[in-house]
């Protein structure tokens, strides 16, 4: 790159940065407040919806699996609620959180079952406390 080319490339790079709406950066800055340092992250390890390539026939019931080190949280999405199970089963409490905070709380019974509703629109995550385990799933949008 000669001098003129590098000046042109720099100008273009800076122009591209100036075109980004300020909201995109604001949203990014505020995302930091969501950092969870106390909970183990459970990553989405299976999603019946995402698994189907062309999605000519969507699965009847969408099923999600979030895996943490020692447990998984399995969730089925029905019309009115999230039906889930903690595996291996252990009782506790599970919260449904969206970007505004906790929107629903449910008990996890002895068999690990829980029901959270209504089905959230937009992005959400689950936060589980069971015994000494504190697990938060990654964010997902249904």
């Amino acid at each position: 790159m000669n001098d003129a080319e590098i000046v042109a490339a720099l100008a273009e790079a800076r122009r591209a940065a100036a075109e980004v709406p300020e909201r995109i950066r604001e949203i990014g800055r505020s995302a930091y407040a969501w950092r969870t340092v106390d909970a183990e992250l459970a990553a989405l390890s299976a999603d019946t919806d995402a698994a189907v390539g062309t999605r000519a026939e969507p699965a009847a019931v969408r099923a999600l699996t979030f895996a943490a080190r020692d447990l998984t949280i399995e969730v089925e999405v029905t019309d009115d609620a999230l039906h889930g199970q903690v595996v291996p089963p252990r009782p506790g409490e599970i919260e449904l959180r969206d970007r505004t905070g906790v929107v629903a709380v449910a008990r996890v019974d002895e068999l690990g079952w829980f029901v959270l509703g209504p089905v959230p629109r937009g992005m959400f995550r689950l936060h589980l406390r069971a015994g000494d385990a504190v697990v938060v799933t990654e964010w997902i949008t249904i």
Binding site: A16, A17, G28, E138, T141
Partner: protein, 189 residues
């Protein structure tokens, strides 16, 4: 792309709770997030939803990032996935045209976009590392057409005769930036 030590430092500090380091990461990568949204035709509230989801995923990945050099690629892929989800969600209302190529793993246009963004990121970072007088002088030269030397001289306090050599020294300095050198060919004329 090689590991930029300043990104490693920012990630490390953000991990430890330094919000300003996080803000710097957001500043650095916001144009990449936006560029991918635009490529999928998303703007306004749709792009904001995509961005929110991507930034949150990045926050929770902070502790597990091993290779900061892989961040732009991870971000671009994550933004793309979120854009496709957003497009599917509104497919019933708004026709979005042929998505088949957008969904493809092998997408040369997308790879090009990512390379261009990595170049932009390195250029801006190298520019930000320049001394203040270089940044000021080069900013004046970015104008199209560039500001006349007489005006640059009065604005920077550099004698007209020194502007050419100063500009060259500043650009040489920019070329020596190791991260930039890794992504652009910076041979002299």
């Amino acid at each position: 792309m090689r590991n930029d030590p300043s990104v490693i430092d920012l990630v490390e500090r953000a991990r430890l709770g330094d919000a300003r380091a996080w803000d710097a990461l957001v500043d650095r990568y916001a144009p990449l997030v936006w560029a991918v949204c635009r490529r999928f035709g998303l703007g306004g509230a749709d792009a904001e939803d995509v961005a929110a989801s991507v930034w949150l995923r990045l926050v929770e990945r902070l502790d597990t990032i091993r290779e900061p050099a892989a961040l732009p690629g991870w971000l671009a892929t994550t933004v793309r996935r979120e854009c496709l989800t957003a497009l599917r969600g509104r497919k019933h209302q708004v026709p979005v045209g042929d998505e088949s190529n957008l969904d493809s793993v092998d997408d040369p246009e997308f790879d090009e976009l990512l390379l261009a963004q990595e170049r932009h990121i390195a250029l801006r970072a190298a520019f930000d590392n320049l001394p203040e007088h270089c940044r000021h002088l080069l900013t004046l030269l970015f104008d199209d057409p560039p500001a006349p030397y007489a005006q640059i001289s009065s604005s920077t306090g550099t004698p007209v005769g020194a502007i050419g050599p100063t500009r060259r020294r500043c650009l040489d300095r920019l070329r020596r930036d190791p991260t930039l050198a890794a992504v652009v060919e910076v041979e002299r004329r």
